[in-house]
């Protein structure tokens, strides 16, 4: 059993050793870190950083992301079903329609509740 996992353990060990090596190497070989205020600033693609780090985001972004997940999962289920369409037969068709009906109900609910209206 150990033999099966040996390459994996080796890789983990190499990764840890390499990381430690780089860190210690940088500490001893590299120049001293010059802690000027300019250097301690967060790097934002070279432009001046602005604003605080406690940014308030509209809950709409979150809602959109969650809805994306729901319908994304739907697609994930439909693809393998479509590939196996002939083999699954009528039971497969009926199951998929049942599943889609539930998702459609969710979509109707979402629209009716106004979750997709960006304004107001």
């Amino acid at each position: 059993m150990i033999g099966t996992y040996l390459p994996m353990f080796l890789m983990i060990a190499v990764a840890i050793i390499l990381a430690l090596l780089f860190f210690t190497g940088a500490t001893f070989l590299g120049g001293k870190l010059d802690k000027t205020p300019e250097k301690m600033k967060p790097f934002e693609c070279g432009s001046e950083s602005s604003g605080g780090n406690h940014l308030k985001l509209s809950v709409k972004f979150y809602l959109t992301a969650i809805l994306f997940v729901v319908f994304d999962i739907e697609a994930v289920f439909i693809y393998p079903w479509a590939v196996q369409f002939k083999n699954l037969g009528w039971i497969g068709l009926a199951s998929m329609f049942g599943f889609l009906a539930v998702v459609v109900v969710a979509l109707v609910y979402v629209v009716k509740k106004g979750a997709l209206e960006w304004e107001n």
Partner: protein
């Protein structure tokens, strides 16, 4: 058709949840929640009626049920739980109908969440495959997390929900890891297949034991047994009381269905069931810890709601005694656990309901002091509360007495004398804090100038209390019929080692 009929409780609740969701979205703008509580109760009632129908129809002769094996296993056990979960859900829905309006947080999502979460619990109860167990568990829990956080403006509610969510996800992950290891060791995800492979033995003995530990931890967490109970008091206290009722009754019943099904299907190998090297002694220790810690801590609570939360943990301990006994005499002890769940569901749902009844908007009954004098000013509310507390304490002629009686007798018959004595002593300790409420209701008067609790008036809450009270009395006076049902439901588990 027969298949649709024995699946009908699940289908009815699922379809009802979708319908209710749409009804709320399409309802009149000015009064979106009109009739939702009633609708939700009707759906639960229909689910219960269909469970009874499926029970009477019988599932043994339905050949088509093999179509959905091993994903869903429809047997007497799952139909028993379908009915039980619908009953608990109906009481929670009725309580919500009164409570949410009184406290001005009536939003339609509550009822849909109740129904969706119950669908998950029913899936768990009839799951025949580890993946379905997990799927049902998550469906059930996600609903419960959202219900806990339903008091949007209350920090306590958010705190409870966050703790519940984080610890619950952690437990689910442990459970999933255990299932993954079982799959690795046996090559099966269906519970029956895992059980057979485990009984047949094999080279992966160590892996199976590690999996057993992980699965047991996840399951015990869900039934909120000590030392995995930390989330329960905060979640129960923070949640709006109907949601607490739901968690204490339905979610707990679902978790016990899962515990029984998984342990008594997967881990029935002789060595794993033995007292020297198996899971029964572990579970026995957990049961002892759960009962003792919960009872001692419950006695120190000043908040009645929190006391009832600890009481619910303590009852998980008594139930675990039955599960331990089930390792030795499977169908008999399992039936006592099922019957106990029935009595516990109606008693605890009633107790939370009575607590709801004793409070008003802005003046929820929270502490013992808040209940002072209720007995004289509002005898009906106090009488109902007393009945449920007496039942929780296990005093005849109420349901709780026979629940405890059968579990303790099953434990005695299986030879767990010490465990039974500990459980008995604990139920005597438990009586202290239940009766303390009675003392405050009947023998104390509120301190001068203290706000006086005025019970709310609500047909919904009254209906829920009457329903629970009738059931508590029926189960306490003529328990034999319901016990027969429980025995029949438990008979799907063969004698140990078989």
């Amino acid at each position: 058709m027969a298949l649709a009929f024995i699946l009908s409780p699940l289908l009815v609740i699922g379809a009802g949840a979708l319908l209710l969701m749409l009804a709320e979205a399409f309802g009149p703008k000015h009064n979106r929640t009109a009739g939702l509580a009633l609708g939700c109760t009707i759906v639960f009632g229909a689910g219960f009626a269909f469970s009874v129908g499926a029970w009477l129809y019988g599932v043994e002769d339905v050949a088509e049920k093999e179509l959905i094996v091993p994903w869903l296993v429809i047997d007497r056990f799952s139909i028993f739980f379908d009915g039980l979960l619908c009953l608990g859900g109906a009481i929670a829905a009725l309580l919500a109908g009164g409570y949410l309006r009184e406290h001005e947080m009536e939003r339609g999502e509550f009822y849909s969440l109740l129904l969706f979460s119950t669908v998950g619990a029913m899936m768990v109860a009839s799951a025949g495959d580890a993946l379905i167990v997990f799927l049902g568990l998550e469906t059930m829990s996600l609903g419960a997390y959202a219900l806990t956080a339903f008091r949007r403006t209350s920090p306590r509610s958010a705190e409870g929900a966050l703790k519940y969510f984080l610890l619950g996800s952690f437990a689910a992950a442990l459970l999933l890891y255990g299932f993954a290891l079982l799959y690795g060791a046996t090559g099966h995800t269906d519970l029956a297949g895992i059980g057979e492979a485990v009984r047949a033995g094999g080279p992966h003995k160590t892996m199976i034991i590690v999996a057993l530990v992980l699965v047991l931890t996840g399951l015990v967490f869900k039934v909120s047994a000590v030392p995995f109970h930390m989330w329960a008091p905060d979640a129960y206290e923070g949640a709006p009381t109907p949601a607490t009722t739901y968690m204490a009754a339905v979610v707990k019943a679902g978790a016990f269905a899962m515990l029984l099904r998984v342990m008594l299907t997967c881990f029935t190998e002789k060595g794993l069931m033995s007292w020297s090297a198996g899971w029964p002694p572990v579970l026995a220790w957990i049961a002892v810890l759960t009962m003792t810690v919960a009872n001692l801590v419950a006695g120190q609570q000043e908040s009645v709601k929190r006391m009832l939360a600890y009481s619910s943990i303590a009852h998980a301990g008594y139930l675990l005694v039955g599960v331990v006994a089930a390792a030795r005499s499977m169908p008999e002890a399992t039936s006592s656990v099922l019957f106990y769940l029935l009595t516990y569901t109606v008693s605890t749902a009633g107790a939370f309901g009575a607590l709801i009844l004793c409070g008003r908007k802005g003046a929820e009954a929270v502490t013992y002091e808040d209940l002072a004098g209720i007995g004289r000013r509002h005898p009906a509310a106090a009488l109902a509360f007393s009945l449920f507390l007496v039942s929780l304490a296990g005093i005849p002629p109420t349901a709780g007495f026979f629940g405890k009686w059968f579990v303790f007798r099953a434990a005695m018959d299986s030879g767990f004398y010490l465990l039974t004595i500990i459980a008995f002593v604990n139920s005597v300790i438990g009586a202290y804090y239940y009766l303390r409420v009675l003392v405050f209701m009947y023998m104390r008067e509120p301190a001068a100038g203290a706000p006086v609790a005025t019970p709310m008036k609500s047909g919904y809450v009254a209906a829920a209390l009457i329903l629970s009270a009738v059931l508590v009395l029926i189960l306490g006076i003529v328990p034999s019929q319901s016990l027969d049902v429980a025995i029949k439901a438990a008979s799907i588990f063969g004698p140990p080692g078989g």
